[in-house]
Symmetry: C2
Subunit: 384 residues, 2 copies
C-alpha cells in the first residue's frame, strides 16, 4: 500500500471537509445565495489579511494577482523598485518590464532576506519611485523578509508597498493594516488550504486612487471593474464558484483554530523541521527561514533531483526541489496550510529513508527525534 | 422538500462523477502524474474543438481567454472588426478599446444573427483589418451566428477570425479546422459540464505567428509562455489542478456519448423548448436560436424579473433573465451541458406554474406536452 502526501509549498493538502464543500452542486453566481457566500469570503479574507482594506478575489493563479497589482497601481513610464531575491521576486520585475515600467532592481543573493537599509538607500536615490515590490516569503528559497521594517522605510516616502504573500499568508505573520502595506497578494493553494485557481489582492485607499489614475491597458484584471462590483457585493466576471464556496469552509476552520494559533502551528512545524535538519547534519539554505517552507541544502554526494523523485515515486511524499540555478542543489519541505506535527514527521521519515538509501551517513531516526523534541518543547496553544 | 435545478447558460449542472473527481486529494502540477492528466485534457479539448490546432487552458473565466485572443493576436494601432449583437460581442469591443485597437463595429440588433454579407462588405471597405471578432452563440440573446458562412467571407481576406464559443461549444456545432477558424474561445462552466474557473483557446499556426509578433503588453495571458510550456506538456503558471482533473472526467463522458450525439441531444432539447414556447403562446426572442439556450419574450402583463425570481425562490429552478436593456423583457432557459429531456420538462413545468400564478392565460401542461411531442418525434440516437 502506498499513501500520497503533498508537502510542497503549493499546492498544499485540502481538508476533506473543504473538498466535499467544493464538490457540492454548482449554484449561479448572480443570485442572493451566492452573494451570501461571497460576502462571507470577503470578510474571511479581511480577517486573514488583518486588514479593513478591500480584498479582491480573482479566478486566476497568484501570478494573475501579481500582474493585477502592477498594472493597476502604475502608469506608463513609472519607476518601481523590485526586490529580486528569488524566482517570485524576479517575476514582479518581469511583469513590470512587460508593461514598460522602469525597474530599479535590488538584487539579493538567493536565500538571503533583503536589508531594509538597502531599500531605504535606493528610495532616497530615486525619489520618483512609485512603488516597491517585495515578497513576504520568497517561496523559491524559503526566505522570509522583514515586511514590518521594510514598511517603516517605505511609508516615510511617497512610494507604495506591494507584498507578494502568496505562500506566506497564514504561515508568516502579515499585518497589512498595522504595517501599512498598500497591496498584498495571495493565492488559494497555500495557507488557505484550497486547490489552485483563486488569487487574492488587498488594496488600500491610496492604492485604489492610483488604480483609478493608471493608464496601463487592462480588462480582465481591471481593479476599477472589481471595485465597482465589490461595492454591490458582486464580481465583474464569472467567479470560480466552487472554490469560493470551499474558501468559506476553509476560513471557518481557520477562525475556529484562531489565526494566531494557526501561525503558531506553522512556526512549531517549521522549528521542528529546522531542528531535524540540524540533527541530520544538513544545512538550512535560508539565512532567514520562513515558517511556510524550509529549504535545505542537498548534502555532497547526494543527487538532489533524485532525492525528490524517490521521495515521491517510492514513498508517495511529494516535496519540492530547487528552481532555476538551485535545481538539484536544495530541496524544500512545506509546513503550509492543512498540516500538523505528524505530517512533518512523515516528510522527515521519508527523507531519512531516502537519505539512507543514498549512502548519506547519519543516525537514522535522529531527524524525526529532533522534530518530536522540538514539538514537545514548543507545545502550547494547539494540542497534539 | 425543494430541489435545486440550475438551468442557466452558465454555470450549468456538474455531473456527480465530475464533482467527485474534482473532490479528489490535490496533486502537484510539476509531476509526471499531472502531466498525464494535462495531456489527456489537451487531447480532449482538440476533440471538442474539432481541431488539430493547439488548445490552451487558462485559470480564468472565459473573459480572460477573450482578452488573451485580443492581446496576443493584435498589435498597437491595429484595426479589428467586432460584431456586436449582444453583451458578449460588445465585450470583445471593450477589450479591443482597452488596448487601443481601432474597433470597426458591426452593430446587429440584439436577437438577430450577423449577416455574413455585412462582414464581407466591411472587410472590403477596410482592407487593413487584422481580425474579425464574433460569437458562435451570443449568450445574452440565445442567438447563433453562421460561423461557416462568416469564415468563408473572412478566409478570402488576410483577416483572421476569432470566435467566442464560450456558451456555444458542445451545443452548437463548431468545426474549427473545417471552417478554418483561427481562434476559438470557450469556458468550463458551459457545455463541458464543469464549475467555472477554466477557459480555453484554440490557436492556429497563423494566429500563433501573429502572437509572436504582437507588441501589446501582457504577462499572465502571454501565449508565448503558454506555447513554450505546452510543447513540454506543461503550463507556465500554477493550473487549476482540480478543475483540469474534472475536465478529464467530463471529456470521458462526452466521448462515451459521442460529440455528434451530444450535439443532437442539445438540438433536441432546444427544439422541445421552442415547441413548448409556441404552444404556450409565447414568442422566441431570437431570429436564429442557438441550441445552447432559448431566449423567450416575456408576455405582456407578466413581470419578467419576478418570473425569474419566483422560479428560483419558490420552485428551485434557476433560469436566466435578460441582461442590459433586455432586463425584464426576456428570460432564458438553457439546455446546455449535463441536461436531458427531463431537465427541460422540469424547467418548462416550473415556468408553467409561475406563468399560471402571474395570471397569464394558457392551457396548463400544453408547453410540457409540446416538448414531449417534439422529443418523441426527434428521438434518434440518444435513448430516453
Amino acid at each position: 500500500m502506498k499513501k500520497n502526501y503533498i508537502m510542497t509549498p503549493g499546492p498544499t493538502p485540502v481538508p476533506e471537509e473543504v473538498l466535499l464543500e467544493i464538490a457540492k452542486p454548482i449554484i449561479h453566481h448572480r443570485t442572493p445565495q451566492y452573494q451570501e457566500i461571497f460576502k462571507k469570503a470577503v470578510e474571511g479574507l479581511k480577517y486573514l489579511f488583518k486588514t479593513q482594506n478591500d480584498v479582491f478575489t480573482f479566478a486566476s493563479s497568484g501570478t494573475g494577482a501579481m500582474e493585477t497589482a502592477v498594472i493597476n497601481l502604475l502608469s506608463k513610464g513609472d519607476k518601481a523598485i523590485v526586490v529580486r531575491g528569488g524566482k517570485f521576486g524576479e517575476r514582479f520585475g518581469e511583469i513590470c518590464s512587460a508593461y514598460g515600467i522602469e525597474v530599479i532592481p535590488i538584487d539579493v543573493e538567493w536565500g538571503k532576506p533583503v536589508e531594509p537599509e538597502v531599500i531605504k538607500k535606493t528610495l532616497s536615490e530615486n525619489k520618483d519611485v512609485k512603488a516597491v515590490f517585495t515578497t513576504l516569503c520568497e517561496t523559491s528559497t524559503g526566505t522570509k523578509n522583514d515586511i514590518e521594517a521594510i514598511s517603516k522605510v517605505a511609508s516615510s516616502t511617497k512610494a507604495v508597498l506591494v507584498v507578494d504573500a502568496i505562500s506566506g499568508l497564514g504561515a508568516d505573520d502579515m499585518r497589512t493594516d498595522e504595517w501599512k502595506v498598500d497591496m498584498v497578494v495571495s493565492g488559494s493553494q497555500k495557507g488557505v488550504m484550497l486547490p489552485p485557481g483563486l488569487a487574492f489582492l488587498s488594496v488600500s485607499k491610496r492604492a485604489m486612487d492610483m488604480a483609478k489614475a493608471s493608464d496601463l491597458p487592462k480588462y480582465y484584471f481591471d481593479l476599477k471593474a472589481y471595485k465597482k462590483s465589490l461595492d454591490k457585493n458582486d464580481v465583474p466576471w464569472t467567479p470560480a464558484v466552487s472554490l469560493v464556496r470551499g474558501f468559506c469552509k476553509s476560513i471557518d476552520m481557520i477562525k475556529e483554530e484562531g489565526l494566531e494559533n494557526v501561525l503558531a502551528r506553522h512556526a512549531r512545524l517549521a522549528i521542528g523541521t529546522r531542528e531535524a535538519v540540524k540533527a541530520l547534519g544538513l544545512e538550512l539554505f535560508s539565512a532567514s527561514p520562513s515558517d511556510a517552507v524550509t529549504a535545505v541544502k542537498v548534502p555532497e554526494g547526494v543527487d538532489g533531483q533524485n532525492l525528490v523523485k524517490t521521495m515521491r515515486n517510492k514513498y508517495g511524499v511529494t516535496i519540492a526541489g530547487g528552481q532555476e540555478h538551485l535545481k538539484g542543489k536544495i530541496f524544500r519541505i512545506a509546513h503550509l496550510g492543512y498540516m500538523i506535527e505528524f505530517d512533518t514527521t512523515t516528510a522527515l521519515s521519508a527523507l531519512e529513508m531516502v537519505l539512507k538509501e543514498s549512502g548519506y551517513k547519519f543516525k537514522i531516526g535522529s531527524g524525526v527525534g529532533a522534530a518530536l523534541q522540538a514539538f514537545a518543547e514548543t507545545q502550547k496553544t494547539v494540542g497534539v
